[in-house]
């Protein structure tokens, strides 16, 4: 403790015992928060930019979660790049070079240029599993018409151009391995290039070599997306210098773009609002020490971040963007007593604080109610912002009340004398209007305009509001999709059954519908487990059939005509029949199962489940209809579900907003009485209504985020109403305080309206409009009949 001079009891700036204690508690608490924050940063900044962190989990179904994660995996961890060049060798060479560079960048867990077919493993799997791996159509042909099957196989044998199968003809006389090879063919338009061992295709006069990369660690952690994006840009430049072209797409690139944008925006929005507020404070109070008002802001931001990391493990970059605007609200607390210097000739910080403290506390409580209401939405984005803002406000409030007066001791601002005159004349005009009954007509006019705007208001919620991706990135992704023919969708089918046999049957039933949709060009293609392996019952049927002497008798003659003795054919059939039955897990473990490995969800709670993934989906409704009437089959549309949950959360947020009004009303009733309650609530209600109307007139959609902005507006409007109602130090100084507070809020939230992320922009516009209307309506509040909280001492 430092030594301090004795202070006379008459000194209004001397802190009371209680105030000293509070200050001590605050300081200890802040040190603890700082320590906690430092500990949280022990593994680097706990900031996340994964959009998925902010989205609600739509379903509580365990299997559905597992399936969602499988479908998301390529989205978050995988990068796909195409290296193109006018000739094949060049394309392969360039891809190899890049592969080498990327492999040594340390940014990827695995970079694949070569298709990595382990022929020995493929041969092994085909040799042991070929009887089970052939497709349903081939199996039926072999079983039902052995003569025709043999005739065709014999043609292949006589054809010099069908040499070079993976399993030599000698071991595959019936050609089953050749049929099973089909499942090795990569999906889409890419094909194996045996000469180079890469996946290759030809389009737009160029040869394109496919590169696949797995990012190391989480694609959405802080550093790697930026580094990957930089590497891709660098690679693109070097490839085009060598006469080639590089196309790349992947979750990491999207994350990097979003991150760069959020960082840039939080930089200039935060910086811009900070600068604006500093200028405003300096102009209004004309003393450097007024900048101490930012200390509560800093304390608030610190508390917000630490609380968020404590509650969620990390703080999202979008939360920080919105959080940066908390400056505008947090700075209101010190402004509420600094502004009083306009009305109190012998202003001191401690005295002014004592006068406004009750109002300040009611304001804090009302604002907290507004934020905490958001905690009850199932939406991590809102929950996180609520926690951040609530903790931030508490921190700022505590700092304003406990610490700031001590620092402002002996200091007085130099208010600008012209300002009270302007404020007073505005108030006088207002009271003249009130006496002439102009106000009710004005109110009626405003109400009519609002109603007109409300009729035009359109409701919109879409996942796309969250992201504003650079068109160049989307173009690349589109071209990669066109060239590879791989256009994965987040929609898929989830098929469950009590046992494997039923699962096969259900997949087959669904497959029939889907085949129809493919011929109608509604769907590009689909991947299912049925395409890989025959069900065990079908395997058994085939085996029985192969043992049947009359079936054998119809198979052998064709072989004999080309010189293969019947005995050799029969011996090879016996070999096939003696192969052990193949289980799903066996088939998936081999190289032929690779493309479908992620479709198998395994056994859980006595159920087996699998995914059927879709490619090139053109009509979601038509494809969704394919699941109708099929037991155990459900169509999963993540994007659609999210959009629906946005919409439902929007109404939930609206209900919560109404509820927060009720709570605020009760709070006001308890503290200020019935008389004050309706007058005070009229301001935020009118401001909200006008904001909705204005959004309609401006053609802005009502989204979850604008509604969230309105939630804030109701709290802010109530603040201003309370200040005007309390009239500490006169109406004019209160108006000045309200206008200053509104300007700071506009400077911070209003600037958010310029964000290129639609969600943030919507939020900013709603708050800016709401604050403007609140300032307009707050002066209409009549003062308290007598000062209910006379200054103590």
């Amino acid at each position: 403790m430092t030594m301090r001079p004795e202070i006379s009891r008459l000194d209004t700036e001397a802190p009371s015992e209680r105030e000293r204690l509070l200050s001590l508690i605050f300081r200890v608490a802040m040190v603890l928060v700082l320590l906690l924050g430092a500990w949280q940063c022990r593994h680097g900044l706990p900031v996340s930019s994964n959009l998925l962190d902010l989205l609600p989990t739509v379903s509580s179904d365990k299997l559905r979660h597992a399936a969602d994660a499988q479908i998301q995996k390529p989205l978050t961890r995988q990068m796909v790049a195409l290296v193109g060049a006018p000739d094949r060798e060049r394309a392969v060479e360039l891809a190899r070079g890049l592969g080498h560079l990327w492999n040594h960048s340390g940014l990827f867990a695995k970079v694949q240029v070569d298709a990595d077919i382990d022929l020995a493993a493929v041969r092994e799997q085909m040799a042991t599993q070929r009887l089970s791996l052939i497709s349903g159509a081939d199996r039926r042909r072999l079983m039902n018409d052995p003569a025709a099957y043999a005739a065709q196989r014999v043609r292949e044998l006589a054809d010099p151009f069908s040499v070079g199968g993976l399993v030599p003809t000698d071991q595959d006389l019936l050609g089953l391995a050749r049929l099973a090879e089909k499942s090795l063919r990569p999906p889409g338009k890419m094909h194996f290039d045996l000469a180079s061992g890469t996946l290759l295709t030809e389009q737009d006069g160029k040869f394109w070599v496919l590169m696949r990369a797995q990012t190391s660690g989480d694609a959405f952690d802080q550093r790697s997306p930026t580094a990957i994006a930089a590497l891709v840009d660098e690679s693109r430049a070097s490839v085009s210098k060598d006469g080639g072209e590089l196309l790349a797409t992947g979750g990491a690139l999207y994350a990097a773009a979003g991150q760069a944008q959020a960082q840039a925006e939080s930089g200039w929005i935060g910086g811009g609002s900070l600068l604006g507020i500093v200028l405003m404070l300096l102009l209004a109070l004309r003393r450097w020490r007024v900048l101490l008002a930012f200390v509560p802001v800093a304390a608030g931001l610190l508390c917000g971040v630490v609380a968020c990391v404590t509650a969620f493990g990390s703080v999202h970059i979008l939360t920080l963007v919105i959080g940066a605007s908390l400056i505008g609200i947090a700075v209101d607390f010190p402004l509420h007593y600094l502004g009083k210097s306009y009305g109190l000739p012998d202003w001191t910080a401690r005295d002014a604080l004592r006068r406004v403290l009750p109002g300040l506390s009611i304001i804090l409580a009302a604002t907290l109610v507004g934020y905490l209401a958001l905690l009850f939405t199932p939406f991590p984005a809102l929950t996180q912002t609520a926690v951040f803002s609530a903790a931030g406000l508490l921190g700022a409030y505590a700092c304003t009340v406990c610490e700031l007066p001590r620092w402002l001791r002996g200091w007085s601002p130099r208010p600008w004398k012209g300002l009270p005159h302007v404020a007073q004349s505005l108030l006088d005009t207002l009271s003249i209007w009130a006496s002439r009954r102009t106000l009710p007509w004005l109110a009626l006019g405003i109400a009519l305009v609002c109603a007109g705007g409300l009729l035009k208001l359109r409701v919109q919620d879409d996942l796309r509001l969250w992201v504003s991706l650079p068109p160049a990135l989307l173009d690349q992704a589109k071209r990669v999709g066109e060239i590879t023919g791989i256009m994965p969708t987040s929609q898929y089918f989830l098929v469950r059954a009590p046992d494997l046999g039923t699962l096969y049957q259900r997949q087959a039933d669904l497959g029939q519908h889907l085949d129809g949709l493919i011929t109608q060009k509604v769907l590009g293609s689909y991947l299912s487990l049925n395409q890989l392996l025959a069900p065990e019952s079908a395997q058994q049927q085939l085996r029985d059939r192969l043992r049947d002497p009359s079936w054998r008798a119809r198979l052998t003659p064709s072989f004999e005509t080309v010189g293969v003795p019947a005995a050799t054919v029969l011996a090879s059939i016996d070999n096939l029949v003696n192969l052990p039955p193949v289980k799903m897990t066996d088939a998936l473990a081999g190289p032929l199962g690779e493309s479908r490995r992620d479709l198998w969800l395994g056994e859980q709670d006595g159920q087996v489940a699998a995914i059927i993934s879709l490619q090139g989906l053109r009509d979601t409704t038509a494809v969704a209809a394919a699941a109708q009437g099929l037991e155990g089959v459900s169509f999963v549309d993540q994007t659609g579900d999210l959009n629906r949950s946005f919409a439902s959360t929007r109404w939930e947020a609206a209900e919560l907003k109404l509820l927060s009004y009720v709570v605020a009303a009760l709070l006001l009733w308890a503290t200020l009485g019935r008389h004050a309650t309706w007058r005070l609530l009229a301001v935020p209600l009118a401001a909200s209504a006008c904001t909705l109307g204005a959004l309609g007139i401006l053609g802005q959609p009502l989204t979850l985020f604008s509604l969230f902005g309105l939630l804030l507006v109701s709290a802010i409007g109530l603040d201003y109403a309370i200040v005007m109602y309390e009239r500490v130090a006169g109406a004019a100084s209160c108006l000045i305080g309200v206008v200053l507070a509104a300007l700071t809020t506009l400077l911070s939230f209003g600037l958010l309206g310029l964000s290129s992320t639609p969600a943030i922009g919507n939020f900013g516009i709603a708050v800016a409009l709401g604050v403007a209307f609140s300032v307009l309506f707050a002066p209409w509040v009549k003062p308290a009949p007598e000062t209910p909280h006379p200054p103590k001492h």
């Binding site: 006589a158 070079g164 199968g165 194996f192 000469a195 061992g197 010189g563």
Partner: protein, 204 residues
């Protein structure tokens, strides 16, 4: 012992002479030039597939037409009747109605079916991307040995050996796993252009 050493010396001298003596050996560009000098070749073929489990090779015979420009027409007649066509666009089989049907390309075949076209037409440049090529002999009797370059192709083909004089006489494909295919061209005749029937056949 002395005699043996002298013998070695003689052998060494002979070997050196063999390497240095010819002023200009028959090489790959020569072979290419020689094969491409004939735009159309017609003839008969005998194809034998040697499978390890069979005592006798699978034998088939028929006729072929090779056009440097259009591709290869392969008319199998014994023991079964089957017409195949290989063009730079792909591989086709004649269906029951006489129309060409495209055959699906398989791994191990795929674009490598064009290899045959390249071999027969003497397109050594196209082949060099995938194979190491060794030419020996003279313009009248040469042998070309093609060894696959890529690890993947090596697991399928051991090598491809082609013998010929003015035209290609014999092609032998040796698969890594032991199967072997030999094609012998008989009565091959060079021509300058396709006849009308053939022109129609080469339009799948």
């Amino acid at each position: 012992m002395k005699r043996f050493i002298r013998y070695l010396g003689v052998c060494g001298a002979l070997l050196l002479g063999a390497v240095t003596a010819p002023a200009h050996a028959f090489d790959l560009p020569d072979l290419q030039q020689q094969l491409q000098a004939t735009p159309v070749v017609r003839g008969q073929f005998v194809q034998q597939k040697f499978l390890r489990s069979l005592p006798q090779p699978l034998t088939s015979t028929g006729a072929f037409v090779l056009s440097a420009q259009n591709g290869l027409l392969w008319e199998l007649r014994v023991p079964l009747f089957q017409d195949l066509l290989i063009t730079p666009e792909g591989m086709f089989r004649r269906g029951d109605g006489g129309k060409w049907q495209a055959l699906p390309q398989q791994i191990g075949a795929g674009r490598e079916t064009r290899l045959f076209l390249a071999v027969l037409a003497g397109d050594t440049k196209g082949l060099q991307d995938n194979f190491d090529m060794q030419v020996s002999g003279s313009a009248g009797a040469w042998q070309l040995v093609m060894t696959p370059k890529s690890a993947l192709l090596k697991q399928i083909f051991q090598d491809i050996r082609i013998n010929g004089g003015k035209l290609v006489d014999r092609i032998e494909l040796r698969e890594t796993q032991g199967d072997r295919t030999v094609m012998e061209m008989k009565n091959a005749r060079a021509d300058n252009k396709l006849n009308d029937d053939e022109t129609r056949d080469f339009a799948p």
